[in-house]
């Protein structure tokens, strides 16, 4: 018997739990929790507890695939990589570097993302590099940089349990981030006050002191109203505002209009409840604000984020232990992919590409001429592909044909490409469209690091050999670069991290060896720096925290006679994003095997729809036949769907209207219709 416990980091959400993969005779055979891990502390959610099964589906892509005459044929690595290098080189030569784009991945390691953006910048010669944070937390980076100077979770996960007040808005914490949900539960059990603002009656709403069930897409109005009450009752932290912030007068002017009476009909919430919430929040400190995609996935996503930041600064809750503004990152390494600059406007560690001094630093380090022009986001790469300006894409570990809004449009764009390379562990609708599919090794088959939501860099360790002929993704990127004439030579991922540390000051003290036990939280400036538990202590990254006066704007699409419902989408506990891994996990898929739409009891009654009836949900972009789940979880006039089902993708319905600043789609609110199917 050969049983091993290999410590690693969970590949699902951004909480970044630690666990052991059980390896028996060379095969994955289970998961064991770790009592000593700082995030999970002996606990796991159901996805973590079953994560071993997610990557051993029989349909793993085992060989490189080249599409010939519309059909994939298995190919050797050399042949495939030669083809990839040749095609990308030719496109670069024919149409220029900016006709190419690279998509890094929030699912992959820091090392992969660093190499992917280096491939784009140093080899392709373009800043057209981005990743799936564009569909989730890009507004966080854009918004918090504007407000605080740094776009990350300000405090640590374990601090949440010691907060006196938790203000959770647009975050289904126990389902989307169960181990942070645990801290919310613990805080509440210890006597903290809990205010939940969410269009659905989620689990935390059931035990909250106050649940504000506002309409999707009315967060700014709600937040402005809370600030209106706080200011009009003199509950703001005047000293903090004076010494630590700027722009208060502008804010005050804008929120003056948002009296509870004025706001109530916009948000669909009783005026008194908002007054009660504002008082409770302002008087209970420290208050920790938690938010996720309910805030960011709107056309006003970035402004939503800045409004959240306004409220926290108004009450002096930023830069204090167990307080802060805490965007809970949705994917295992979305923080890291941003840090590694799989972003069109930054070099690694948020160093701007249009800053000549920074450009020079990277030109010297990489010994190559670099483009000073910020690149295109994934959103704009898709749009420009349709216009014929983007000719070749290298997509790593992403499935925009399931995850992007209005996927019918995305398909039309990708069809226009001259050359599409997709790098995946399982076939996906996007991979099906590719000219070349490169089989990557999963988290269990390689080494590297993930950075969790609280900026903690943690290692993954190789537990089993790569499945079939798949290879660790970072090695594949190295081979493509090398074949294109720029050798990427790294003995292992530890050396890639050493290069990252040498170039990104916030990662200055990071090395695999130092991260081996419990990780390190950036900023970690040098080899002796202990890492940083919470940000903005004493001083904001940008100096003074900045208030922004922001007016409410409704979603791009609002209900009308033809489409009378607001449709929102989201994640549930038993599944993860496009379902690639969770749908292949027996115990997870068994629990929720089919797509559904949540609808309120009153609406169900009006339409003659009972629980588990077949029904059709339509928007201007498409329709889906799904089961109805009739309950009191959503309010009248609102519907909600998960987005995990590739056979019934919610994003056939969602609106491809984008936040003008962060270019994130409005997944959380569009107009829809519901009909019974007999």
């Amino acid at each position: 018997m050969n049983l091993q416990y290999i410590p690693t980091t969970c590949p699902y959400c951004g909480a970044g739990c630690g666990f052991y993969l059980k390896v028996k005779d060379g095969e994955l055979a289970g998961v064991a929790p770790s009592k000593t891990h700082p995030v999970s502390q002996g606990r796991l959610c159901v996805k973590g507890a079953t994560a071993w099964e997610s990557v051993i589906g029989a349909d793993r892509i085992k060989e490189p695939l080249i599409k010939k005459n519309g059909k994939f044929t298995k190919a050797g690595w050399d042949e495939t990589l030669d083809l990839v290098a040749e095609k990308f080189s030719k496109i670069k030569e024919n149409y220029g570097p900016d006709s190419l784009g690279v998509w890094g991945s929030a699912r992959c390691t820091n090392e992969l993302n660093y190499l992917a953006q280096k491939l784009a910048r140093a080899v392709f010669g373009t800043n057209n590099v981005d990743h799936c944070a564009r569909t989730c937390h890009s507004p966080t980076v854009a918004g918090l940089v504007r407000s605080f100077g740094s776009g990350a979770m300000t405090n640590s996960i374990d601090e949440v349990k010691d907060a006196a007040c938790i203000f959770a808005i647009g975050s289904n914490t126990p389902e989307a981030h169960p181990l942070i949900g645990w801290r919310v539960r613990t805080a509440k059990d210890k006597g903290a006050k809990l205010i939940v603002c969410d269009p659905r009656k989620i689990d935390t709403a059931k035990y909250a002191d106050i649940h504000i069930q506002h309409y999707p897409g009315t967060d700014i109005a709600l937040l402005n109203c809370l600030m209106n009450v706080i200011i009009s009752e003199g509950l703001e932290d005047k000293q903090y505002i004076k010494t630590r912030t700027e722009g208060f007068e502008e804010l005050k002017k804008v929120v003056a209009k948002y009296t509870p009476k004025y706001t109530a009909p916009i948000v669909g919430v009783d005026a008194d409840l908002m007054v009660k919430a504002a008082r409770l929040y302002a008087k209970t400190k420290p208050a920790s604000t938690l938010y996720t995609l309910g805030i960011t996935e709107h056309t006003v996503g970035t402004e939503n984020v800045m409004s959240v930041a306004n409220l926290a600064m108004l009450t002096g809750n930023v830069g204090v232990e167990s307080g802060g503004v805490n965007p809970l990152r949705g994917q295992n390494n979305v923080q890291g992919a941003c840090d590694m600059a799989a972003l069109p406007n930054f070099y690694v560690g948020y160093q701007k590409v249009d800053n000549p001094a920074i450009q020079e630093k990277f030109e010297k380090a990489w010994a190559v001429k670099l483009s000073p022009k910020p690149g295109l986001t994934t959103t704009d790469q898709v749009i420009q592909a349709k216009e014929g300006k983007i000719k070749g894409l290298y997509i790593i570990g992403e499935d925009p044909l399931t995850s992007d809004p209005n996927i019918t449009e995305v398909r039309e764009s990708l069809e226009k490409l001259e050359f599409l390379v997709v790098h995946e562990i399982y076939m996906s609708p996007t991979a099906e469209m590719a000219d070349v599919v490169l089989p990557g090794a999963s988290f269990a088959e390689k080494t590297g690091s993930f950075t969790n939501s609280e900026r903690r860099i943690q290692l993954i360790n190789k537990a089993i050999e790569p499945i079939g002929n798949s290879r660790p993704d970072w090695q594949i990127v190295c081979d493509v670069a090398t074949r294109m004439g720029y050798p990427f030579k790294y003995p292992g991922t530890a050396e890639v991290m050493d290069e990252i540390a040498s170039l990104a000051p916030i990662y200055g003290g990071i090395s695999h060896d130092r991260c081996r036990k419990v990780g390190l939280q950036w900023p970690c400036l040098d080899k002796n720096h202990p890492g940083t538990k919470y940000l903005h202590k004493g001083k904001f990254t940008r100096g003074l925290g900045k208030f922004h006066g922001i007016e409410h704007r409704p979603p791009a699409e609002v209900p009308d006679d033809e489409y009378p419902f607001i449709l929102s989408t989201g994640r549930m506990r038993f599944h993860y994003n496009v379902g690639t891994m969770s749908r292949r996990t027996h115990l997870l898929d068994r629990e929720f095997p089919f797509m559904f739409v949540e609808v309120s009891e009153n609406d169900g009654q009006k339409l003659g729809i009972r629980d588990m009836d077949d029904c059709q949900v339509s928007t201007r972009r498409g329709q889906l036949k799904v089961k109805a789940r009739v309950s009191d979880r959503v309010k009248e006039g609102v519907m909600w769907m998960p987005f995990h089902y590739v056979e019934a993708p919610a994003n056939l319905l969602t609106n491809d209207a984008f936040c003008p600043i962060a270019r994130t789609g409005e997944y959380k609110a569009c107009a829809a219709r519901l009909e019974k199917v007999s």
């Binding site: 018997m1 050969n2 049983l3 416990y5 410590p7 630690g18 052991y20 059980k22 028996k24 095969e27 994955l28 055979a29 289970g30 998961v31 064991a32 929790p33 770790s34 009592k35 000593t36 891990h37 502390q41 002996g42 606990r43 796991l44 959610c45 159901v46 973590g48 507890a49 079953t50 071993w52 099964e53 051993i56 589906g57 029989a58 793993r60 085992k62 126990p174 169960p178 181990l179 949900g181 645990w182 539960r185 613990t186 059990d189 689990d203 059931k206 035990y207 290692l459 499945i467 079939g468 081996r516 036990k517 419990v518 506990r573 038993f574 027996h586 115990l587 068994r590 629990e591 588990m612």
Partner: protein
């Protein structure tokens, strides 16, 4: 064939040095499984060791339970090709193993599982592994703040049900041999053992029993059996439970499993079983959607009833052995021990 047969307890002793020699010998001849501390994270778990130096001696109990050596989290039941059942044979990956360092609670848990897998129909996947195993358990020095074997009468040292039990003394261990299998191992290495210590084991047992039990099991049993527990308790636990299954995966006596036909990446077809948990609603939901367990509260109550009433009725011992592993595994802060105490105090 029963997995173990009891004998009249025989006493001996072994010095700490001789114990190291014994373990070294066992390593060479069989598979030795013992507590090992992970290099990166600090958890201690039972793992195969090739050198006794790897064994961790400073531990309360392991993070996971040793049940996985007999009832693994994932196990191939048989392989097949095509659609014919004709040539299918049951897999058997049992090997000669010695488990060292188990605590009394885990030994009692395995004893309960033995009865469970032997009764009615014999589960050979479990039993063949058990038959080839010998357990050397080490009595606990003390209870920690989460475990409670004195209340469930499953420790910290055992009166019976062990193969070999060690009790720590100054420079040596008192050794008790309690089964045929234990005796065989003892006889094979008899030259390493010494005469019984002048240690009054009955006195130790009496002392152990005196350690304050954290609850009265009989009272808990009665309150559950007589439905004296307020439904609010089940409602509260049900609302807290996030259906992760972890407490049940960690439990040394939980034995639910699911079965699935699947293909491995290299293309082998398998029917396999894996740990399941009664805290998933889909464990009872039937094809067609009907679920006889209607609410989380019912689901939770079923588990408490199973461990603390029905298993006592069926096997004569508590289905909870007091190891405390599940207490700190819950993202909803459900603490099994606290809840048992609430049940005890229901009347």
């Amino acid at each position: 064939m029963p997995v173990t047969s009891k004998i009249e307890i025989k006493n001996a002793s072994i010095t700490k040095d001789s114990l190291s020699r014994l373990l070294k010998k066992i390593c060479k001849e069989r598979i030795l499984i013992a507590p090992v501390r992970n290099d990166d994270l600090d958890d201690v778990n039972f793992l195969p060791v090739t050198n006794p130096a790897q064994i961790c001696c400073d531990y309360d109990n392991t993070t996971t339970s040793p049940k996985e050596f007999f009832f693994p989290q994932y196990e191939c039941m048989f392989t097949f090709s095509g659609t014919s059942h004709e040539s299918i044979e049951a897999g058997d990956d049992s090997e000669e193993i010695v488990l060292f360092g188990l605590r009394a609670c885990d030994v009692k848990a395995i004893e309960l599982l033995d009865k469970f897998y032997e009764r009615n129909f014999e589960d050979n996947y479990y039993l063949s592994k058990r038959q080839k195993s010998v357990i050397i358990s080490v009595a606990c020095p003390d209870l920690n703040d989460q475990c409670f074997c004195t209340a469930t009468e499953t420790g910290p040292l055992l009166q019976d049900g062990f193969d070999i039990q060690l009790l720590s003394s100054v420079n040596a261990y008192a050794v008790q041999i309690g089964s045929e299998k234990g005796l065989q191992l003892f006889e094979q290495y008899q030259y390493l053992f010494g005469p019984p210590l002048e240690l009054d084991i009955n006195k130790l047992l009496a002392q152990a029993k005196k350690q304050k039990a954290k609850f009265n099991l009989q009272k808990v049993y009665e309150n559950l059996k007589q439905q004296n527990v307020d439904e609010d308790l089940w409602e509260d636990i049900g609302a807290r439970c996030q259906s992760c299954g972890l407490c049940l995966f960690l439990c040394p006596t939980c034995s639910c499993y699911s079965v699935k036909d699947q293909k491995t990446p290299p293309g082998e077809n398998r029917r396999s079983r894996q740990w399941d948990a009664c805290y998933f609603s889909s464990i009872t939901r039937m094809a067609g959607g009907n679920n006889p367990i209607r609410t989380n509260a019912e689901m939770i109550k079923r588990k408490y009833q199973h461990k603390l009433v029905q298993q006592i009725d069926e096997f004569g011992t508590s289905g909870c052995v007091g190891c405390g592993r599940c207490n700190l595994a819950c993202v909803g802060n459900v603490n099994w021990l606290d809840n048992i105490i609430k049940i005890e105090r229901a009347t």
